[in-house]
């Protein structure tokens, strides 16, 4: 009985099979492709095609008056970099993205730390704190617009009531304050996402590390710096990348709350592209801006992922 296997595994005549080539592997796995076919098909239609088309369109001029389009090479791109609004919009977008991400992250971290404690009814509060995330952007925008109303908004009125100011603050009308106000609203909307991710990260930290630190003499603050923060590094990276990308793509809150006003002071890149597309109907120009935005996001993601994976390897 025991000797049979030994004979079968010896190669015959020294012939060694080559590993299968690419075509062979595709044929062998042909059934697998059925599983992904519908998904890939749909995504090719609604994602790949529009993307390619946008790039194509960016090299054309699409005047509103006529149905034809004209090839004009890199002129759209030239126009973009010379546009008056370009720097303003870029500045606003960076302010919006970085500001929202940092504030949401800090608030989310604080919330996660609080909600991770074992106090009564903590589950209820965890639920309440996620509400901003699930309420629609439009609803949130109008709610805050009313809250921040330049004459009757409850925020201004309450501050007056408590004697901090004398006149109501025109949050959304003042060029100086409008971006700050929008960032505040976006922070309110996004911090639960950071909270949920960081909470999950906190729960993966082994309890024993904290016990060891307590015995070693670390107080709460030292435990936070020496254990919690370093252990949260991986999830922090993932969360901040997702938030930065998400924020750069924001549309609804700025569009609904101020439409980019007053006088473009709250115009960020997506609303700018949108307004150009659907107010001036210059799809070509708008496409060019979209392509530039895409390139920026792509480069950013690429370097970020490189840093991420290099950190992991350490």
């Amino acid at each position: 009985m025991a000797t049979i296997t030994a004979e079968r595994s010896a190669p015959r005549g020294g012939f060694v099979k080559k590993p299968p080539g690419l075509l062979q592997r595709i044929i062998r796995h042909r059934a697998d492709y059925l599983y992904i076919a519908p998904a890939i098909g749909v995504m090719a239609l609604v994602i790949l095609y529009p993307f390619v088309y946008t790039i194509y369109l960016s090299f054309f001029e699409t005047p509103a008056s006529r149905p034809e389009i004209y090839f004009n090479g890199l002129e759209n791109y030239q126009e973009l970099f010379q546009a008056d609004l370009f720097w303003l919009v870029t500045r606003n977008t960076i302010y919006w993205t970085i500001g929202s991400t940092i504030l949401s992250f800090i608030l989310g971290l604080a919330a996660a730390l609080l909600v991770n404690q074992k106090v009564p009814l903590v589950g209820l509060f965890r639920g309440i704190l996620v509400i901003p995330y699930v309420i629609g952007h439009v609803t949130a925008s109008y709610a805050w617009r009313w809250l921040l109303h330049g004459d009757f908004g409850v925020l201004s009125q309450t501050l007056i009531q408590w004697g901090f100011i004398e006149q109501p603050i025109p949050f959304l009308q003042s060029p100086a304050l409008v971006m700050l106000s929008l960032v505040l609203v976006n922070t309110w909307k996004s911090f639960p996402f950071a909270m949920i991710m960081l909470l999950a990260g906190l729960q993966t930290i082994p309890e024993d590390l904290y016990k060891a630190a307590r015995v070693d003499g670390a107080n709460s603050w030292q435990q936070f710096i020496e254990i919690t923060l370093p252990q949260l590094m991986p999830i922090t990276m993932v969360t901040t990348v997702l938030m930065i990308i998400g924020n750069m793509n924001s549309f609804t809150i700025p569009y609904v709350m101020t439409g980019g006003g007053p006088a473009h002071q709250s115009e960020i890149i997506i609303t700018w592209i949108y307004n150009i597309s659907f107010q001036t109907l210059r799809f070509g120009y708008a496409s060019a801006i979209s392509v530039v935005l895409f390139i920026v996001l792509f480069v950013f993601s690429y370097f970020y992922v490189r840093v991420l994976t290099r950190n992991e390897a350490n």
């Binding site: 998904a39 609604v46 088309y53 699930v134 439009v138 809250l147 309450t158 793509n249 979209s290």
Partner: protein, 290 residues
């Protein structure tokens, strides 16, 4: 000796708990106050609206605003009902479609090893990097060409742009969590690969499917930009778009606006509070694996 020699450990624990509670209440108020103020405005009689200083709990709460904008007999109410219907149809159908198409794809990415798998999966993840704007203009043009502008079908297909990659990513995370031994056992027992998938694995991912469906539904329900751009007639508007148009057409009617906004949020918030667990699991499943 510890500097807290005078305070017992039990007392320290109590103080700790009180401080934590204080901050939790503070943040919770921050999170909830727009909703609360929205409700407060919606039940305030008109003359109380612009009172200074502002009142949180009105003296004579009224439901007249809700009645005015939501009752089916009123003109606004009819519109609202139509918007509600549109949102429901579009959200439900796009959720069902995207989950149905994602499930086999996610399973394939999780279990199989075919040439091009990594490229395809990267493509799925990469969609996130593309600003939605990049798709909006061509989709707008595409829908016009296909004569699908201003229709349910057009919107549903467009929604797949974001629901599909998300569903695949989430579901793959859930599939990854199921041990491969189960399928092997099933196949030894006589199932085909597909049979093992449908009869053994799918039932086990029920919570994951539910979570993914909920997440997709919420995204679709709240979606604004596509709905705004790809529809133009009043009868095709979804709730978020309807809300925006309500405001532009009735700029001073804040209570009416708040009443509508509040009503739109309620189903999602309730659904979310009940299904919290699954929702959070969905969000973190995929991320922790990375």
């Amino acid at each position: 000796m510890s500097q807290f020699a005078g305070v017992s450990r039990k007392q320290k624990n109590l103080i700790n708990t009180i401080v934590i509670y204080f901050f939790i209440l503070l943040i919770s108020f921050f999170a909830a106050c727009p909703l609360l103020w929205m409700l407060s405005t919606a039940i305030k009689p008109r003359d109380q609206l612009f009172r200074i200083p502002p009142q949180w709990i009105p003296n004579h709460p009224t439901l007249e605003h809700f009645e005015r904008v939501l009752f089916p007999t009123r003109p606004n109410g009819k519109l609202f009902f139509r918007y509600f219907l549109n949102s429901t149809i579009v959200s439900v159908v796009s959720t069902i479609l995207s989950v149905a198409v994602s499930v086999p794809a996610a399973y394939a990415f999780s279990r199989f090893n075919f040439p091009g798998k990594d490229v395809a999966y990267f493509g799925v993840l990469a969609r996130n990097m593309f600003p939605l704007i990049v798709f909006l203009i061509p989709l707008f043009i595409l829908m016009r060409i296909l004569r699908l502008q201003d229709t349910y079908a057009g919107l549903i297909i467009a929604y797949l742009t974001f629901t599909l990659p998300l569903s695949i990513w989430l579901l793959k995370g859930f599939f990854d969590g199921i041990p491969k031994e189960l399928e092997r056992a099933a196949r030894i027992d006589g199932c085909t690969r597909f049979g093992a998938f449908v009869r053994i694995i799918l039932p086990l991912t029920a919570p994951g499917l539910a979570a993914t469906a909920i997440y997709s539904f919420i995204l679709a329900w709240n979606e604004f930009a596509y709905a705004l751009t790809l529809t133009h007639s009043t009868s095709m508007r979804t709730l978020p778009v309807g809300l925006a148009y309500f405001f532009t057409e009735n700029t001073a009617d804040w209570p009416g606006l708040m009443a509508t906004a509040f009503t739109i949020s309620v189903p999602v918030v309730i659904m979310f509070l009940i299904l919290q667990r699954y929702f959070v699991a969905a969000l973190t499943q995929g991320a922790i694996k990375q």
